[in-house]
Symmetry: C2
Subunit: 256 residues, 2 copies
């Protein structure tokens, strides 16, 4: 079952892909070899394979970048572009209603991953982009996803070191636990000046067909002068709409 | 420089990824082994590696699907989500102005690849999704991209067999050549009932910093009762706006 050398070659191929990230979207062959810990000939061979396959493309300067073939594969990710496709009409409605930043996110272990963002040109600057990751406790969508995660996971997360981003970031486990209970009770999360000093987000859960929370939708606005109470209904309605599009049916007699 | 067995293992890893497509977004281990032409133990080992890395995820039924890690990588693709990020505000404007399907596409050799789509809920049903591919001659965005491709490429494309999708699809090389000249002259393409019998699209070019056409934006509407002349200015303005966001500057004295 084991194929000596084989396992290593496949690992190396993944190491080449892993060399690319938001801080390093374009790499020369030398960059790849250094970042992936490969000899130049090996990097050359693997980059050539990946380019021939379409996972990498060469830009005008000769550097390598992520290619269209990976975009096509990513379009098949159920928690990425499939979720996005179901959510998009509702995100557009939310954007038209608010003209603020609208975000769609899922939980990947201890982090939020943004799978969609509609950004108003005059809306508050937001430190997210598609594919970006943030810790759960510091964002509205993260609070929603943490509030609905398994109890054991929550305990572990709250016990761990919790990063602070502004003077307002809540990192005290007991206070966070109360906030999570409130998120479950109210059906939404309000996160104010937790990641940057000027932003406030309102987030609501998105449920899958079995009622479990699979994603979260949020609107991010300027904290100064924000009226979260005016945003909450719109965000909750969008969350319920996306949930229905995913096959969720609200329990009889319950509010969405 | 060559490492016998190594090349094979990396190839096999890509074969596992290539087993997933729009018709096969979820695969069991047996499916993977059959579609990738691998023994079950080899498929098991490679799928395990890809799942540990985050390129694959297991769903509730135990089948494998594309994972979030590939979405994150795809977000780095300059012709994918990077282009999309620059284009999004203009696509949103176009969507708000028309409430019709808005699409963003690039050329990959002889095909159009859609990198973004905003779909109106009441808009015409469109046979595209993000990551989908269509031949160049049968879509508005494809005509724009073909019209601005190198002359040698155009000759080869028009000489090849051109697929017909409806009774209206233009596949006659001489007529297509006239249409492409008109697209270059007018700065937009109108494609009527070429892919489906009920849709009409209006597309405009998107230029990169050096003036070359790098993408195309379109609006797709019901062919019945469509007034393309009313859509052309909006689509051209969106194309010019995205071009500027990418660093393009219109030549002095020229129209956008």
């Amino acid at each position: 079952m084991s194929e000596p050398g084989g396992r290593t070659a496949a690992d190396r191929l993944l190491a080449v892909l892993a060399a690319f990230d938001h801080a390093h979207p374009a790499l020369t062959l030398t960059d790849v070899s250094r970042r992936a810990g490969l000899t130049l000939p090996t990097a050359h061979r693997l980059v050539g394979m990946l380019a021939a396959w379409g996972a990498l493309e060469r830009d005008e300067s000769g550097a390598y970048r992520i290619g269209l073939r990976l975009l096509e594969l990513a379009a098949l990710a159920p928690r990425g572009l499939v979720l996005r496709e179901a959510a998009m009409p509702f995100l557009e409605d939310l954007f038209e209603a608010t003209h603020e930043n609208v975000q769609l996110a899922v939980r990947d272990n201890a982090e939020v991953v943004y799978v969609e963002r509609l950004a108003g040109r005059s809306a508050v600057g937001v430190r997210t982009q598609v594919g970006a990751r943030w810790p759960l406790h510091a964002t509205g969508v993260g609070l929603v996803l943490l509030a609905h995660s398994p109890a054991g996971f929550q305990d572990g997360y709250l016990a761990g070191p919790l990063e602070s981003f502004t003077a307002h970031t809540v990192t005290e486990p007991r206070r966070l636990r109360r906030m999570l209970a409130e998120v479950r009770h109210s059906g939404c999360a309000v996160s104010e000046r937790q990641i940057t000093d000027d932003a406030l987000s309102v987030a609501a859960p998105i449920r899958g067909p079995h009622g479990d929370v699979v994603a979260s939708v949020s609107v991010v606005v300027h904290a100064e002068g924000a009226r979260p109470n005016a945003l909450i209904p719109a965000v909750r309605v969008a969350g319920a709409g996306i949930s229905r599009a995913l096959g969720w049916q609200p329990p009889i007699g319950a509010s969405a």
